[in-house]
Symmetry: D2
Subunit: 351 residues, 4 copies
């Protein structure tokens, strides 16, 4: 950690900073230039919140040197994490990228879900997704079928063998999710719901952690760290778009460079959700392809059996025909990617 | 709601949109220009999520006309909401702006909290704040004293008569908060934690809802709507800075125009937290003054009894002396504001 | 154009808006809901700045329906624009994607430029880039070799047959650029330098227009419109990253979905510059691949003959070896893309 | 400057960085922690672009310690700059804040401009503004009356004694501006038009430099540096809103904390333009008041003689009555501000 002092600040302010850092068990090196003094704190800053220094008198700025996450970091764990599922599916490293697909919300008509599930299975995808508890911006929007939806998903799993993904929004629902669901999703709006992060951290179930739409990559990895330091290292990350000043053509901006960045600084798998990132159907195919060639370990898509007559969000999904059509081309692309070379050590260290 | 169709889209796509809207009980008016067709949907769109339309074939964009919040809106409730507290303190409307002050976290040493509380009381402020459960970006940072902190705060209230503010991060803690706390805070990171919003919505206790650092004003008011439509209309809003591309001199950008905007479109009180918005001590005074003249119903500040030796975030706070000094000038400014004219009907309707 | 009136605004305010629109030759349709009135203006809004309406009394918001650019729009010009160069190179449509490469700045040592040029040529690339006039954030940074650099580039063209790209920053330099340069670049910081846009608009030379780092896609296409409506339709667009709240791992966020969006709404070619977008060498390869599969008409990269001993920015470039290595893999990927299907009509109209 | 090396990078990469820095005349201090190595470069980094280091092999991040602007910095010039005008008006330091007002564009009807000018004069304001050359996002919008507008403004100056402000968009127009205009404005879109910055830097006329809508405060002060290092130190800065993700209620977000930040780090005067920042009439009064109490040296407002019948942007302006009404209240507020204490040394050094 680097503490930059204000130009011309007093010696007593500098001494206060040094004392403070030493009290927190840092080794301190002082570098004085002509105008400015910089205090270099060496040690395990992960156990210390640097922000607390920023308002000490005479401090101009605190600069983080070592990444504040540890378990999630590549340096602490150089080998790629592979998340393993019961049926042999593996996510991460140089494993074949996976496809997660299904309706935004599970709806009352079970047959529709099953139709989608069979199509997803037929295209060789590995996971069926479906919302049971919906975190909706407006309280007047459909809030989900709750446990009934989880039961439907579990039944679809029995029929198809697909692994099941669904979003949890309340720690109290953990027992339900543990019995029905294979991959528990933490949604973007709950990325910093620390109670929820701790709750899934105490489970053994794999967690799909979506990036908050204004979370920096560092905050994203710190959210993963919350889960991991509570004991659950089976975390799959998901980039799903960040807020920007331009909302005329898409809801968010898909930050695709997050994929190779996260692969460089973390060992965790990272997938991409182009449906939520862009909110536009015609962008799903090109952005899925782009995600896969940039090294993503999978993509996630919304598919609905009857988009025009859905009772909720279903319409923003692909129809089964569109999904089948796109997935054919994605499978062709996946087949062509040379996994051993997709992100070689050489690439990772190119800089 | 306005549905803009893609230029040259087919009639069947237009008919599908119309059918869809009629099925959701909208009255539909079709406006056709030379290039483009626009479908105007008239009716209560609050019970309908417009995003779901955006992926229907041939739809280019959906534009919201009526604000999606209702209970929080000025049109549904033209008179200012005044939140009343037991001891006669009132927040909102043309009431005297309030000051909320206290340490970031309540710490082990009770006397320190009490020293701050007496100073806050002496300056004529109305509320003592203090963190008990801390939502920290890093799992390795101090997570708060939990119930012990709430007990300390309640004891400080007994001594000083100050009202108590503290942040809740888990719905399961509601009983504890209801017994100790006067104003329950929902932090910025939990602004869209809908389980938590529903929980405080079922309480009678006033709620201090902080704006998420990437929440639009519309999303902010929809979060208030969640609380209100669950039965609790005692909501005080708090602007505390939004994320921007410039993080060299401040953590966030204080969006001060949110104050008059929210006063125009909502009847709820709105206060400002310049400490968290800027993260820099020297900005607290000018930004507090700016908040007050722009019409804020109060300001919130961090004060610590011994910033240099705090065990956690305390250092980013004002010292008691600095707080006293600034508050003297703020009180002078508050005394000068002509409340009846601060934001007159004329101003609200100037446009 | 849709003019949303404030809820409960007076009839005279509505009449003023109608009168105003009629004076500007719009046909007006009035839609009145229970709460709100919406004025729908039908006609050629491209000759009219909607912002001017936003402050009329009683107006809440003005929403654009028809895109404000015309010559740049797909609807006015459904067929892809192909920009043709003297030596037969074509950019746009379903032509083979191009690669532009070369040093950030042309430096004093001509042989270094020539070494890079030969490597660029050998890899089958089409364009050599090099800065002559540098727009630098700090006045103390190297400002470029000016005309001498253009002469060097022209000499490298003679030797290699590569087309030459360089950035113009002052309209007064147009004669120089017209004699030496094949593709005149407008940099991101000058995207809204309207004097410069008009100057290149009056030339016949193809223009490479980079997106401003905070320009919306609409503003980007309006900048292209400036050039086109002055007579020059040979415009190639370039996405090069936008500003975001996260600047820890990259300078900007590469907005890759801009590629398929622009291909949907405009007929102009669009390329991608991953070097400037990310500012990190290890991201160039994955982001170039992602750009190509998402449909970009080309990529642009910085290459330097001796990055470690460059007199200016050269260090942020790839070395010749790294460039050769990456370009081999890109060429392989380019060879695999099925151009006729890269962005089919079907995909464009999927929604 | 701090160069953070990648964890575990090789010694040769570290040596390359050291050699590089020494070649650029930095004194180098090496700090090695358990995981990471940090190279501290001490010396005059203002003559060196740190970005060039960011792509050296093994470099993770470069962190700026000393602000890259020098002439604009408070440390190089501790006393406030006061910009003096011929008629005795002074802008900056503890001088009475000024008001700049006038129409967005000067229009064909001279009498309208004169009516506004007399109202501006009568309210005790110091400057008349009016656009002559308009930088418009769309090429189809009104581009200004050009020299005729400057002549009108000069005539209004003769009648009223007001100082004249107008925006320049092309360096070639400097002679015209030098003969007619007292304060030459560089607009937000041209803040990094370095040719233009150099041109006004060679003049003796005061310059009003507006912040680019995505410029960091550092980039803003570097743009001022461009003007100053070319010889013109009479620079007045103007905050006018930055881009954000929320554009539903305002065009931009007014970054008001930029006022005290710039007063801390620079000696240059800083004013605020709430009209362009917010784009909404009802926000001008509260944001002007907020600007003044936060320490701004002035505010700038748009006023039009007949907003409802303006040929261009005039409608977004205040009417003369509204302007008079607001300015009365602003003058009362200005009268109350205790200038000697507005931003005392104590406040500047509070941290």
């Amino acid at each position: 950690m680097i503490v930059v002092m204000e130009p011309g600040t007093s010696d007593s302010n500098i001494q206060r900073v040094i004392k403070f850092l030493e009290r927190h068990n840092f080794r301190v090196v002082l570098n004085q230039g002509d105008y400015m003094t910089v205090v270099h704190a060496i040690g395990n800053k992960r156990l210390f919140n640097p922000m607390s220094l920023e308002s000490l008198e005479g401090v101009k700025e605190v600069k983080i040197i070592q990444e504040p996450y540890k378990l999630a970091s590549r340096e602490a764990h150089p080998k790629d994490t592979i998340v393993n599922f019961d049926n042999g599916v593996k996510v991460g490293g140089y494993e074949r990228p996976v496809v997660i697909a299904g309706p935004c919300s599970v709806e009352a008509e079970y047959q529709g879900l099953l139709d989608v599930a069979y199509a997803v299975k037929e295209m060789g995808c590995q996971f069926l997704r479906g919302g049971a508890f919906k975190p909706r911006t407006s309280p007047y929007d459909f809030q989900g079928l709750e446990e009934k939806a989880l039961i439907y998903l579990a039944r679809a799993k029995e029929k198809t063998g697909l692994l099941i993904v669904s979003e949890i929004i309340d720690a109290a629902d953990m027992p339900m999710f543990e019995s029905y669901i294979d991959l528990i999703q933490i949604g973007a709006r709950n990325m910093q719901n620390f109670s929820l992060l701790k709750a899934v951290g105490k489970s053994k179930k794999p967690v799909l952690l979506k990036r908050g739409c204004s979370a920096s990559i560092r905050e994203f990895l710190l959210a993963a760290e919350y889960i991991m330091c509570n004991g659950n290292e089976n975390v799959i990350l998901c980039e799903r778009g960040i807020k920007s000043f331009d909302q005329s053509y898409t809801r968010n901006v898909l930050d695709l460079s997050a994929v190779p960045i996260i692969k460089k600084y973390s060992h965790l798998p990272i997938i991409v959700d182009p449906s939520h990132a862009t909110g536009r159907r015609y962008l799903i195919e090109p952005m899925s392809k782009a995600a896969l060639v940039s090294g993503a370990h999978g993509v996630m898509m919304e598919v609905h059996h009857d988009p025009d007559n859905a009772s909720s969000d279903g319409e923003q999904s692909l129809s089964v025909e569109q999904f089948t059509d796109i997935t054919k081309r994605l499978n062709k692309l996946i087949g062509r990617i040379d996994y051993d070379n997709r992100m070689t050590k050489q690439e990772l260290n190119i800089k």
